[in-house]
Amino acid sequence: MTDARPTPEDEVVKHFREHATSEPPAHLDSLILGVAHREAPAPKPNFWQRWVQVCQKPRWQVAFASLVGVALMLALVQRTPEQAPGYDVVPAPKASAPVVKKEASRALAAPAAPMADVAAPAQSESINAERAEEAKVAKRAAAPAITLDEQLHEVVRLQNAGQAQAADTLMKALHKRFPDENVEARLNEMPRN
């Protein structure tokens, strides 16, 4: 355990501390504090303040504008309307001729102004949807809408109704439409009332 009593040497130090009276002149205090206040470093800006400052510099403005421009161009390129899938290869049946003509006229008109579609992407999207729907209709029209059996049922119905001439006309049409089928034989196989 150490002796906590102050030594004579410690008393001398304490004595000098207690009786020191000199002070720096007031004009020095005000000069030093004035300089310190005047030359204090500017407070460091936080993250958002630094971000705004960076954005205010011309060279960064140009860089950001270029970046935004490139991004816009990429976005527009991504949104360019796609060609209607399989649109041109859909066989055009005679029954759907008006639809096909209408489709063809649109198909001719639409590619003539691709930039118009780019300028109005929303409109372009609606046109695309409409075209897709019409393509489905065209496909349905291209396929044999009414089967041979159904037609033969109609022939039987006409015959039963005594409309022999109409039944003959329909049979001739069926011969032409289904040249590979033995229409007469199929008619005979049809159930009759």
């Binding site: 004579p8 501390r17 407070p43």
Partner: protein
Amino acid sequence: MSAPEPGDEALLARYRSGDGPAFEILYARHRLGLYRFLLGLSGKPELAEEVYQDTWLSLIRSTSQPQGRANFRTWLFQIARNRLIDHWRKHGIHNPLHDSYDEQAHAVIDEATDPEQLLSLSRDSQRLETALKDLPADQREVFLLRVHGDLDLAQIATLTGAPLETIKSRLRYAQQKLRRMLAEEVLT
């Protein structure tokens, strides 16, 4: 319960990051000690004021911080001491701190070891000042750093670049001489 006062290093860092009032606290803490150290070491008020001002202005304009194990107080007194030595060198004045004083050769047996006699130490500031001036410069420096810088012996050794044992003996001799000189003044 009040928050603990910020340390000197924290205040300096706050000032460096734009907190002006932090410097005022720092200045208020150290203005008296630094000035009294310089006045006691140089012995000339004009020179002490000049070095005092240079020291604070260099601290304001610098971006450096206390290095290594040095705290702010040691760092501040180191700057002031270096400035004073630079001034002596610039004006062709012999640096008294370079004088190697042989304490053994000048040792006087201290007979005034009665603690009660300490109560009669002179309180006259002029006599205190004179007694200080009578000390060898290297002892005076160590004593002033202890009294006004409130530095411990290891910090004084780091600041002056002298071995710790040398600092201990310088301080011991300085205190003994001062006590004897001031006591004698009262007794006569």
